[in-house]
C-alpha cells in the first residue's frame, strides 16, 4: 500500500513547489522530511492541500524550539481520509517575535492544538478566534516547553542525574526551598490581588445578565460549571456551559487540571526512561500507548521486530482496545443514569484481560511492556492461579469475550430508554468530523471509514482479516454501537493472532540495552489507539534523550468538537455526549 502511494506523494510535491515558488521548499535537514512553508503563504497552502490534493484531515499541530537557531517551528501533519502517508509541513518563525497565521479558518481541528502550542511555546497564531492558554492557567509566566524554561525543583536538563550515584545521599526535593530561584513571579504580579481578565471574560453572560437586569429585563441565561469534580466528567475536567433555560447556548471545555508537562518530562528522560511514562497517558490503554511510542522510536532506529513479538504486540493491543471499549460503554451507560450495573458487567470481562496483562507484563494497567525492537518478556507458561496461559487466553478470546459482547448487545442495544436518550443526540456530520480532526470511533460512527490499521497499516496489520466498522448517523447511539462492532472485530484479530503466532522465537531484536542511542532526525509514529489516532512526534539529535517529544493525544483533539456537538441540547445530553466521545484526562491534559 505504501509503495503505491509513494509516487503520488512525489507528484504532490512537484505540484506544490511549482505552485508556490520560493514559499514552499523541501526540508533538507538530515533525517527530516516534508516542506518548509513561508508563513505568508500558509493559509493559501493549507487551502490548496485540503481542496485540491485531498489532505482533508489535519492530524497534528505542534511546535519545536530550535534554540540554537533562534527559531520556533510549527509542525503540521496532514492526511487524506482515504489513506496513505502524511504530508508534513513546517513553518518557522523567530523566537523573539513568533507569529504564524492560524489555520483554524481552514481546519477547525487546529483550534485546541494551536492553543496548546501557544501555551507551551508562545507561538502567536494570528487570526485564532480564542487564543488563550489551554493547559496552563492564565497568568502563568513563561512557556514551559521552551528549552530555556526550567520547572520548580529543577535538577538537571537530562536524566540520569549525577546526584544519584555514586554519592547518592538521599534528600527530598521538597526540602529545597520551593520559592528559590526556580519559582519566579512576573514583574508587578501579586498573587493575592490578581484576578484573571480572561477568566472573567469566560463568564460573558453573567455580565450580560447584570447589564440586562440593570436595564430592567428579566433574562434566564446562566453560566454553569460542570466540573472540575463532576461525576459526569470522567476525571478533573470542567465544562463551562452557558444555558438558556436548560438549552446549551455555548460550551467551553476547560482542562489542564492533570497537566504535568508530560512532554517536558519526556524530553528530560532518555528514550527508554520514557516508556513507562507513556503508560500514564491514557491509563486505560497503556499497551497501545507503548506501541505507538515504540513504533516512533523504531522508525528512527530502523529496528526489525521479530515475528513472535509482532504477534504478541497485536494481541496485547487488540485486547487493550476491548478493555477500553468495555470501559467506555460501561461508563457511557453510567452517564445515562444506568448506575453501575452495565459498567460492572462490562469491566468484569476487562478484569480477565487485566489478569492476563498482569501475568505477562507484571502490571494490570501500567504495563510498560513494549521495548524498542520487541517486547520485554515472552508469554509465561503459567498464570497466577497455575492455569496454562495459552489455554486461558484462548478460552477468553474464543469463548468468553464473544459471548460477553453478545450479552452486552442483548442487554443494552434495544433498551428503549437508551435509544431515547441517545438516538439523534450529539449528531456529528462526517464533513464536520473530518474538519475538526476527529479520529477513532468518533469519526467512524459518522460514516467515515478511516482506520489507521487499514489507511496506513503499521506493525503487521496487513496480515489480518478484519472489517473497518462504520455507522451512518454519527449520534451517541452510533458511537455506542460502533464500540460493540469494534470489540467484535478486535476479538477476531486476537483469534487470528493466536492462531498464527509462532510457537517459539525471539521476542526482542538484539540484546536488551538500557542505553539506546537514536540516530538524529524526526519521526512520527502513529497507531489506531482505542480512542483515535495516537501519534508520537519525536525529534532526536543523536543522543539518548529526545530533543522534542510530542504526543498527539486523541482525547485532547476529539473534544475540540464538544462545544459544537452540545449546542442546542439539554444539560443531561451534555453528560451523555461527553461520555460518548470517551476521553481520559491523563491523556487530555498530559
Amino acid at each position: 500500500m505504501t509503495e503505491a502511494v509513494a509516487p503520488a506523494v512525489e507528484a504532490v510535491a512537484e505540484s506544490l513547489e511549482a505552485r508556490f515558488p520560493e514559499a514552499v521548499t523541501p526540508d533538507k535537514r538530515a533525517g527530516y522530511s516534508g516542506y518548509i512553508v513561508n508563513p505568508d503563504k500558509l493559509i493559501e497552502f493549507a487551502t490548496a492541500i485540503r481542496d485540491e490534493m485531498g489532505y482533508d484531515l489535519l492530524s497534528s499541530v505542534t511546535g519545536v524550539d530550535y534554540i540554537a537557531d533562534g527559531k520556533l517551528e510549527a509542525v503540521y501533519h496532514a492526511y487524506k481520509t482515504t489513506g496513505g502517508p502524511a504530508l508534513v509541513f513546517k513553518v518557522q518563525t523567530p523566537r523573539e517575535e513568533p507569529v504564524i497565521p492560524s489555520l483554524v479558518s481552514v481546519f477547525p481541528g487546529a483550534d485546541f492544538q494551536e492553543r496548546e502550542a501557544y501555551d507551551m511555546y508562545g507561538i502567536r497564531f494570528a487570526g485564532h478566534p480564542n487564543l488563550k492558554r489551554i493547559l496552563m492557567w492564565e497568568g502563568f509566566a513563561g512557556y514551559p516547553l521552551r528549552k530555556d524554561w526550567k520547572e520548580a525543583y529543577f535538577e538537571g536538563d537530562l536524566k540520569p542525574f549525577d546526584s544519584r550515584w555514586p554519592g547518592g545521599n538521599f534528600y527530598r526535593s521538597e526540602e529545597k526551598n520551593p520559592f528559590s530561584h526556580n519559582v519566579t513571579y512576573p514583574e508587578g504580579f501579586d498573587p493575592d490581588k490578581w484576578v484573571s481578565e480572561e477568566e472573567a471574560a469566560q463568564y460573558p453572560t453573567v455580565n450580560e445578565m447584570e447589564l440586562a437586569n440593570a436595564r430592567g429585563f428579566k433574562t434566564d441565561k446562566i453560566v454553569v460549571n460542570l466540573g472540575p469534580q463532576h461525576p459526569s466528567t470522567h476525571g478533573v475536567f470542567r465544562m463551562l456551559v452557558t444555558l438558556d433555560g436548560e438549552t446549551i447556548v455555548d460550551l467551553q471545555p476547560v482542562m489542564g487540571y492533570l497537566h504535568r508537562n508530560h512532554e517536558k518530562i519526556g524530553e528530560r528522560n532518555t528514550f527508554l526512561h520514557n516508556m513507562p511514562f507513556t503508560d500514564r497517558l491514557d491509563y486505560i490503554a497503556s499497551m497501545s500507548n507503548n506501541l505507538g511510542y515504540a513504533l516512533a522510536v523504531e522508525k528512527l532506529l530502523k529496528s526489525k521486530v521479530p515475528e513472535r513479538a509482532e504477534y504478541i504486540r497485536i494481541l496485547m493491543v487488540e485486547l487493550t482496545r476491548i478493555c477500553n471499549h468495555l470501559w467506555a460503554i460501561g461508563f457511557l451507560l453510567n452517564d445515562m443514569g444506568a448506575f453501575f450495573t452495565p459498567a460492572l458487567y462490562a469491566i468484569r470481562e476487562r478484569e480477565l484481560i487485566l489478569d492476563f496483562f498482569e501475568a505477562v507484563a507484571g502490571s494490570r494497567m501500567m504495563c510498560n511492556y513494549m521495548r524498542f525492537g520487541g517486547v520485554s518478556r515472552d508469554l509465561p507458561e503459567k498464570m497466577m492461579r497455575d492455569e496454562n496461559t495459552l489455554a486461558f487466553v484462548n478460552d477468553m478470546v474464543f469463548n468468553r469475550l464473544p459471548r460477553a459482547f453478545d450479552e452486552l448487545d442483548t442487554y443494552l442495544t434495544e433498551n428503549e430508554i437508551i435509544r431515547t436518550r441517545s438516538i439523534g443526540v450529539g449528531v456529528l456530520p462526517p464533513d464536520q468530523a473530518i474538519a475538526y480532526s476527529c479520529t477513532g470511533p468518533l469519526l467512524r460512527a459518522s460514516g467515515v471509514s478511516y482506520d489507521l490499521r487499514r489507511a496506513e497499516p503499521y506493525s503487521i496489520y496487513d496480515r489480518f482479516d478484519f472489517k473497518v466498522c462504520t455507522r451512518p448517523n454519527g449520534d451517541v447511539y452510533d458511537r455506542y454501537l460502533i464500540r460493540i462492532d469494534e470489540m467484535r472485530e478486535s476479538a477476531k484479530i486476537c483469534q487470528q493472532a493466536l492462531r498464527d503466532m509462532p510457537a517459539t522465537g525471539d521476542i526482542l531484536a538484539g540484546k536488551p540495552s538500557y542505553n539506546v542511542r537514536v540516530p538524529a532526525g524526526e519521526s512520527y509514529g502513529r497507531v489506531e489507539g482505542p480512542k483515535g489516532e495516537l501519534g508520537f512526534y519525536i525529534v532526536s539529535t543523536g543522543k539518548n534523550n529526545a530533543y522534542r517529544y510530542h504526543v498527539r493525544a486523541p482525547s485532547f483533539i476529539n473534544i475540540t468538537v464538544l462545544g459544537e456537538l452540545c449546542k442546542g441540547h439539554k444539560v443531561a445530553d451534555v453528560v451523555v455526549i461527553l461520555g460518548s466521545i470517551d476521553i481520559v484526562l491523563g491523556e487530555t491534559d498530559r
Binding site: 544519584r164 550515584w165 554519592g167 545521599n169 526512561h273 497466577m384 492455569e387
Partner: protein, 216 residues
C-alpha cells in the same frame, strides 16, 4: 412491542442474579473459602460472583507482578552478603530517578569497593516500572510482591534504606520460582562456560610449553 428491550435487559440481569445462586449450589458455597474453587470463580469459566472480599479474601499475585524493588542478599557463614556491586545501572535506568546509591570506598586506597554503602529508594516516587530489576546485570535487585504498604507518615516511612530493602535470596526464590530457576540455569551455564574456557586455556598453557619442546 414497546418496552421489550427493557425487559430483555432485565432478563440478563436476572440471569446474572440467578447465576450467583447456582454457583453457590454447585460449589456448596465453598468457592468463598476453598482456594481452588475461588480460582475457578475467577477464571474465564466463572459465572457467579466475581468479586472477592478484600482483605478477608486475597487474590494470588502473578509471578511477574511487580511492586517496589528490594535488594537480594545471600546468607554466608552467618553474614549477609549483598549481591549488589553498586555499579549504578539501576540508578541510571530508573525513569523517575528514585534510587540513590552511595558507593563504598576503601578507607585506605580510596578505590571503590563493589558493594553499596547506602542504598535508598523513595517509594513515593517509584513508579514500579521494573527497569532496575530488568537491567541489573547481577540479579541483585528484584521487584517485590508486597503491596500493602500503607503507613501513617510518608516523610520517614516511605524512604527505604538498605536495611529495609534487603531480603534473602530464598525469599526471591519463593515469590518468583520460575524466574529464579531460569536465572540459576543461566548462571550455571555461564559458570560451565567459564570453567570450560579456563580448562581450555590451562590446557593450551600446558600445550604451549610442550609445543616448543616438541620442535626442539
Amino acid at each position: 412491542m414497546y418496552g421489550l428491550g427493557v425487559v430483555k435487559g432485565l432478563w440478563v440481569t436476572l440471569k446474572h442474579f440467578v447465576d450467583t445462586y447456582t454457583d453457590d449450589v454447585q460449589w456448596l458455597s465453598k468457592q468463598y473459602v476453598d482456594k481452588e474453587k475461588m480460582n475457578a470463580r475467577q477464571s474465564p469459566k466463572g459465572k457467579g460472583l466475581f468479586t472477592v472480599q478484600y482483605p478477608d479474601e486475597k487474590l494470588p499475585a502473578a509471578e511477574r507482578f511487580r511492586f517496589i524493588p528490594f535488594l537480594l542478599y545471600e546468607e554466608k557463614n552467618g553474614k549477609q552478603e549483598d549481591l549488589c556491586t553498586s555499579c549504578g545501572i539501576c540508578a541510571k535506568v530508573c525513569p523517575p530517578q528514585c534510587i540513590w546509591i552511595v558507593r563504598t570506598d576503601d578507607p585506605v586506597t580510596k578505590r571503590p569497593i563493589p558493594a553499596p554503602k547506602e542504598f535508598y529508594i523513595d517509594t513515593d516516587i517509584c513508579m514500579n516500572c521494573g527497569y532496575c530489576a530488568e537491567y541489573c546485570p547481577f540479579d541483585a535487585i528484584k521487584m517485590d510482591h508486597d503491596f500493602e504498604l500503607a503507613s501513617y507518615d510518608r516523610t520517614t516511612a516511605h524512604v527505604y534504606d538498605k536495611a529495609k530493602l534487603s531480603k534473602p535470596v530464598s525469599y526471591y526464590a519463593g515469590i518468583r520460582p520460575t524466574d529464579y530457576a531460569a536465572e540459576e540455569k543461566a548462571r550455571a551455564a555461564e559458570e560451565a562456560k567459564k570453567a570450560a574456557k579456563k580448562a581450555t586455556a590451562s590446557a593450551a598453557k600446558k600445550d604451549a610449553p610442550a609445543a616448543p619442546a616438541k620442535s626442539e
